[in-house]
């Protein structure tokens, strides 16, 4: 007892209790809750504003895309509605540009690649078409039927299109002379 009184002796029906520990605990929990809430609000506001910012940027991008698409559509429309006179001039110009830029070296190297070693060209008649492709009529002399078939297969493999054997004949030396029409398109 150390001379101290018996302070907590109490026989009341509804005794007063020291609830300081509970009050402190409640206060501490409330403080924690307030801190957590403050952090939650802080992060919510922060990320909400970032989300809004990102949303705005996204909307801007969408708008830019839509504008670009609109412009694209408008250009396409304008191209479609170009007057025939202008179109003719454009086609002529395009044709000139195409012819100027056409690589005969590439064309002949491909043709050479397709031609079997024992076959040779007898004649070649090129004709530029309006759609920037080259229409060809070839007269090829092959030693055997196999060479002739190999030629057709190689032309197919080298992306020549519209391959059509129009005439096939044997000359007096027994060689096969065939007339082939095909189309060559630059791929680059």
């Amino acid at each position: 007892m150390n001379g101290r009184p018996a302070m907590n002796l109490n026989l009341a029906t509804h005794p007063l209790r020291n609830r300081r520990a509970f009050t402190w605990l409640a206060g501490l929990l409330s403080a924690c809750l307030v801190v957590v809430l403050a952090l939650a609000v802080f992060y919510f506001v922060r990320y909400h504003s970032r989300r809004v910012e990102a949303g705005e940027k996204l909307a801007g991008l969408r708008e830019a895309i839509a504008t670009a698409e609109d412009e694209d559509r408008q250009f396409a429309e304008r191209i479609r509605t170009v007057p025939p006179k202008d179109k003719l001039a454009v086609d002529v110009l395009n044709g000139i540009i195409f012819k100027k830029s056409f690589s005969w070296v590439d064309f002949f190297s491909k043709l050479e690649e397709a031609l079997p070693a024992t076959s040779y060209l007898a004649s070649l008649a090129p004709n530029f078409r309006e759609d920037s492709s080259l229409e060809l009529k070839l007269k090829v002399v092959s030693q055997t039927l196999d060479d002739h078939i190999a030629l057709i297969t190689n032309l197919n493999a080298l992306k020549f299109s519209g391959i059509m054997v129009q005439n096939e004949d044997r000359n007096d030396r027994g060689q096969i002379v065939s007339e082939i029409s095909l189309t060559y398109e630059r791929l680059d």
Partner: protein, 306 residues
Amino acid sequence: MTRFADRWKDYFTRQPLPPALFQVSSGYLAGLAYSRKEGRITRTVLLPLAKGTVEPSFDKGNIRQPGLLAETIMEAAQGLKVSDGDVSLLIPDLSFRVFLLSLDSLPSGRSELESLIRWKIKKQMPLLPEDIRISYEVVKPDKPRKLLVVLARSGVIREYESFFGKLRMNVRIVSLPSLLVMRPGKADRPADILVGNVEDDHLALSVFTDSQLFLYRSKALNLEGGEGSGRIAMEVENTLRFVEDHEKKKIAVAQLRMGLWEGNDELHRKLVEQLPLPVERIVAEKAPQLNARERELLAPLIGQVP
């Protein structure tokens, strides 16, 4: 560090104090208003009670003249400027039984401890009534542990509670004055000391040896007339002899709180003459604004103030 820990423990365990404190004795009614916010006593009141208004008893109802007591309480409440709310109430020591029990170990559960206390008390008080209330406090935590146990009958406590309840006051603390007079005494008291509370109708004595509560006893006395001091001196001497026989200790000083409405100085003078040891009076040091008589009569109430 220990002092700091004690202060924290005290802060979290000390019973809170309501704003108004009353003490009902057979001779007077004492009241004290305490401001928890300011941490000070704001008002005090002391009013005499007519003889027979309250007759303290452990078994029977105490209030004999309820009208008179109610009037006095209302007058005291007006003096304290309290009209309703929670109050603390000290009722006469004779309404309680106090035991000092030695236990080798304390059960951890509250109900187990109360059963053990009842069992121990029944050994000393075989006809223990069923309707008793128990309050206890560990006064010596190291082995053998000592427990200060206070008993009162529910009927007696309820009588006071319902009486104050009718006057719109909720009694939230009920305790006994003699255990609270120890606090207002001198802080540097000797380790072996006898502390007494003298009231009109009884005497309560507590003996501390090595600063530990060793003995508590109360005795009903009729202190009217000139023979009061002789009875008190005899009881004190008997107690001193008992302590000397059992503890082989010599009590250095007796500190007595004189709780008579009148005649305290005369009684003290006689006791100084009759007792073989120095007899000091307990005067509350906490309320310097009060005069010595008020501080002596209000000592148990002031003893509740932290």
